[in-house]
């Protein structure tokens, strides 16, 4: 990065929060601080929901995911439109009608105080840790490739977010997210355009796509019912539906986004906007990864994208082995490139032969990269994240023009800041509204609660930075965020589904069902190695099954919380 890149980077990441502070500075009452005002319309809500979901990992890891495995991952989002429609039809009208600040307030009104606290507590634990990982994951990658100090990078991303979220509350979060996601989309579109432009001139866009297809990168939809297939339309619709329903219906960091402004109509349109644009947006991000894959068919990629890890292995005395692998890799790359360059002028029969050769060379290159990773592990230079996470940032730093590099690094910071601000805003609000107000100061003034929420938001920001500072202890940190969510989301969703659909179940039954289901999930997490997505189903199904049984057997005369109309 040169001076121009740093100017673009700091101008972008500073200008948006400063504009937000200028627009929102003042003395808001509690409602405005937690829900914004009526100036927040559906467009802002839609972009804010999108920005909250699309954290930095989306933009760092997704292109690398497509580079490695193709665009089949898109199917994971196929359940989201259905979940968003359920949220629009059932969750949003209830939250808006009851004028709740947090989703867990609804549990208190429908059941009792202890169930509300249980839902809020599970959210705080899960999101408190996940917020730290959201800051840490891009920081470890950026600090590695840019040579920045890790703690400085964590504070750079986290410090700004804490400051402006504390000052402006929900309105500043929504406002800044609107501009941050626009910067992100412009940056990704530029990267896409440049990747396509840098392909060889004798390859049209269509020919490039055909080549990617022949190399197995463009299988977007798979109707297979083979359970061993990782991404299929069926697993995407079913698994994606439950994950999205938990996330959008019961996670305060999203609930607070679409309740902002207080208009049922704006909330619904904002969510439906996401139901429609999410799949095309993810498709384009994955296709960017395919374009980078094609680019690296003609421009030699590094043997291992995580170069700091690779260099550590050389320093640890594994240079000769890695050098031998590099020679093999160079040879395979040259032969593969020659075969690819011969394709546009080849006859149909020759093209078939060349395609088979290219596939064979690609398999050899993959095998050499796998062997490289084994050596890195032996050398004690085992990276904390997948090598594919470094593909996009390596492409940006090595092949994009100055200025655009700064913008793309700003994209990663914008994504970190927008996702983290939503989480901190939700953590501060939930701590204040669901714990502080009812348990410690039930009859204070509006101003008192605004101040308390600000202090609690600051405290959660410091917790997130502390978690980020210790996150290096976590192996495979990117998976860690997904696993953490799955461990807690199921039980939380179960509480809400019982509230909506099992009208005869009351507070004590659902509270103990929630505790039992969560204990069961935690026990499975520590003692078994089942796929983590199943925790959502087990937690949610556990609450839905156990609550009515407890109601019938133990809590028939429970007076806590008959369902409101």
């Amino acid at each position: 990065m040169n001076r121009l890149d740093y100017i673009v980077l700091f101008a972008t990441i500073l200008a948006i929060p400063l504009y937000g502070i200028w627009r929102t500075y003042g003395h808001p009452n509690l409602r405005h601080y937690l829900k914004g005002d009526h100036s927040i319309r559906w467009g802002t809500i839609g972009l804010s929901v999108m920005a909250t979901q699309a954290g930095p990992i989306t933009f760092l890891s997704m292109p690398g995911q497509a580079y490695e495995s193709g665009i089949g991952f898109i199917q994971n989002y196929f359940g989201q439109p259905f979940a968003l429609i359920v949220v629009c039809a059932i969750f949003v009208p209830i939250y808006q009608r009851l004028r709740v600040f947090t989703a867990y307030e609804y549990l208190g009104q429908r059941f009792d105080q202890k169930t509300r606290l249980l839902g809020a507590f599970l959210f705080l634990v899960q999101r408190g840790i996940a917020g730290g990982i959201t800051i840490y994951a891009p920081a470890i990658i950026l600090s590695a490739v840019l040579g920045w100090d890790l703690n400085l990078t964590i504070w750079l991303a986290g410090g700004f977010v804490i400051a402006y979220t504390v000052v402006g509350g929900t309105k500043i979060v929504s406002l800044t997210q609107r501009y941050q996601i626009l910067v992100i989309l412009i940056g990704m579109a530029l990267a896409f355009g440049i990747a396509v432009h840098r392909l060889p001139e004798d390859f049209s866009f269509s020919a490039a796509l055909s080549m990617a297809g022949k190399m197995g990168k463009l299988e977007a939809v798979d109707f297979s019912i083979d359970p061993s297939r990782r991404y299929t339309i069926w697993s995407g619709i079913l698994g994606g539906f439950f994950l999205s329903l938990s996330y959008f219906g019961a996670d305060q960091s999203q609930v607070q986004r679409y309740l902002a402004g207080g208009s049922l109509r704006a909330s619904r349109i904002g969510l439906l906007f996401n139901a429609i644009v999410k799949v095309p947006m993810q498709f384009l991000i994955l296709l960017l990864g395919v374009m980078i894959f094609l680019f690296y068919q003609f421009e030699k990629p590094p043997l291992f994208f995580n170069q700091p890890s690779y260099q550590r292995a050389i320093e640890n005395g594994h240079g000769p082995q890695l050098s031998a692998l590099q020679t093999q890799f160079d040879d395979v790359f040259t032969r593969k490139r020659d075969a690819l360059q011969a394709m546009p002028k080849a006859s149909a029969a020759e093209s078939e032969t060349l395609t088979a050769q290219v596939r064979d060379f690609e398999a050899q290159a993959r095998s050499i990269r796998d062997n490289t990773k084994k050596i890195l592990i032996e050398a004690g230079a085992n990276p904390k994240s997948k090598d594919s996470d470094y593909v996009f940032i390596t492409f940006v730093l090595d092949h994009l023009p100055h200025g655009v590099v700064g913008l793309l690094v700003a994209v990663i910071f914008c994504a970190t800041m927008s996702a983290t601000s939503a989480v901190l805003n939700a953590l501060g609000s939930t701590s204040a509204i669901d714990f502080y107000r009812p348990l410690l100061r039930p009859k204070a003034t509006d101003h008192h609660y605004v101040v308390a929420t600000r202090w609690l938001t600051l405290a959660w920001g410091l917790v997130a930075i502390a978690v980020a500072s210790f996150a290096s202890l976590v192996e495979n940190l990117i998976e860690a965020g997904n696993i953490l969510g799955s461990v807690f989301y199921g039980s939380i969703l179960g509480l809400f589904l019982v509230a909506f659909f099992l009208r005869g179940v009351r507070g004590s039954a659902v509270f103990y069902a929630g505790l039992i289901a969560q204990t069961l999930v935690l026990a499975l997490f520590f003692t078994s190695n089942i796929g983590y997505l199943w925790y959502n189903v087990i937690g949610c199904g556990g609450v839905l099954l156990i609550a009515p049984i407890l109601q019938q057997l133990l809590f028939r005369n429970d007076p806590s919380g008959p369902a409101p109309a």
């Binding site: 898109i74 429609i85 197995g216 339309i233 429609i276 799949v279």
Partner: protein
């Protein structure tokens, strides 16, 4: 809720949901056509 939310017209929202599902189905169909064309 604001003025513009009243009166709640359920039928209108049902059409909006149906429209969202139809658009999603078109997206999936285009992705499938893309898969067939380039794989």
């Amino acid at each position: 809720m604001s003025e513009q939310d009243r009166p709640p017209v359920f039928g209108t929202w049902r059409k909006a949901y149906a429209c969202a599902i139809v658009l999603f189905a078109i997206e999936v169909a285009l992705l499938y056509a893309f898969t067939l064309r380039f794989s």
